[in-house]
Amino acid sequence: MTAPAPTVATPGAARRHPGRSRAVLLVPAGLGVALVVLPLLGLLLRTDWGSFASNLSAPVVWPAIRLSLVTTLVTVALCFVLGTPLAWLLSRADGRAATWLRAVLTVPVVLPPVVGGVALLMAYGRRGVVGAPLFEAFGLRLPFTPTAVVLAQVFVSLPFFVLAVEGAMRAVDARYDAVAATLGATPLRIFVRVALPLAAPGIASGAALAWARALGEFGATITFAGNFAGSTQTAPLAVYVALQNDPQAALALSIAMLAVSLLVLGMLRGRWIR
């Protein structure tokens, strides 16, 4: 009988040991999970479930939820109407202009939202580039209105939508465009009848991304639209305010937003995320 091969003891033995080596990976990975899961657990554990229903009916809650629902739905609709043609044109363009446009559209993704709010004020504020002439001509005042809430949300979420949908439309074989053109389809008909149906899953997930980003929007909104209960105080702003004087209402509102977010994520998983 031959003896089993002797293990070579070296200073690096710990690294060679599969179990210990795996632990080196598991510890940071586990810590990462904890950093994400602990706050969510905290939210669930500190919520007073007995009075959840009554907290949810606190006066600050419902107007904020309603405003968030209405403005985010308008935002998503605007993203679809404006962003889908933009994504389609970008997906079929390969010039320098398209590259630059793509880069510019990415800016709001990386820009601190507060800076976005300041930029919006400089554009649409009473002395803004567009805001001043609008006010002088029509007496129209955009900042601190629900319209401003939508503008802020579109500013931050349209880029998400366009980038996601452009990817989906790029994946639509360009030879379909060519065939449709030889069959007599105009560019508009190719967009509606070929590009939209074939990119539908990508459009849906882009819309969900844009919606989630709009729902969570805080910095640009509070800077540009303010924080007026009933007219510009969206759910995230209401949570922040309620945390000062009615923490249980803030928790109830947070749980409601968490539930809606999970619902959207679940729908995406089931239908569009493989």
Binding site: A178, A181, T182, L183, G184, A185, R193, L198
Partner: protein, 352 residues
Amino acid sequence: MTLDARILVDRGAVTVDVPLAVADGSVVAVLGPNGAGKTTALHALAGLVHLRDGHVRVDGQTWAGPGLHLDPAQRAVGLLAADHLLFPHLTARDNVAFGPRSRGAPRRDAAARAERELDALGVADLAGRRPEALSHGQAQRVALARALATDPRLLLLDEPLSALDPAVRPHIRATLAARLRAYDGVTVLVTHDPLDALTLADHLVFVEDGTVVQEGTPADVVERPRDPYVAHVVGLNLYPGTTTDGETVATPLGPVVTAGLGHRGRSWVAFAPSAVALYPDEPHGSTRNVWRARIATVELVGQTARIRLLAGVDDVPLLAEVTAGSVAALRLHPGTALWAGVKATEVSAYPS
């Protein structure tokens, strides 16, 4: 002439310059190796690519010319590619109806037209299916129906059979031939398969590096290739050369004694691979053309063996066809040195 075109397009390093003149109801095949510019020429006819110069006229109507470019949607054109490219989200019927609908036909008329086109190609029973539920051959027939449903004056076929399973190819080829006979417009077929060209086309145009190297009827081209690629496609050995006596032609292979050509000067020499006989030792008989040769490759196709040889002093490629039996009897394998011979009566020669 119903199609009258001169296609001049820059495509990377290659300049495609192809004139085409085709009468109604006829089929012209454009053949050439990969990258020769065949598909580019086809796309220029469809309007997917802009001409640098030249023109496209169909039925006397100018589709493209100096300062003029009609979009594909404005041209009466139908395009069928190797991949059927049926819209995956539409049924076969809606795919075929897409063209008529795009050109303004009411929904009901477009659907009826689609049914008729599908029926003409024997796939009416598949009208309700999505492309994913069709075989390759079925999908290609639906795609042909779609290309024809807009009454194109110009039907463009881009390697229409090349993506098909070889087992179904003859069947689809026959369907295509029958449908093309009934079609009264002009068909331009791009292919690299000589069988497609010879069975479907009335006129062949060979394109290499963007320019036409030979054109003519299939019979003419098969009999008298004037270009190495054309000879390769029709399966003949072809050598350029010169003759001073109208009988023996000096070629890269060496002097070749021919059946006689009554011409002096530059000539082509052609003979079939099956006319080449192989001998293990130098033959001393009636065969007047004999070369030393070495086998490069041996390929068996059924009972026939295609032997690629390097022959003569300069190792010139020579293709021979012998029976599978002689491969075994003569022990033919790559590297074997032997003698190749062709009778003068088997060699045709013609002025170049």
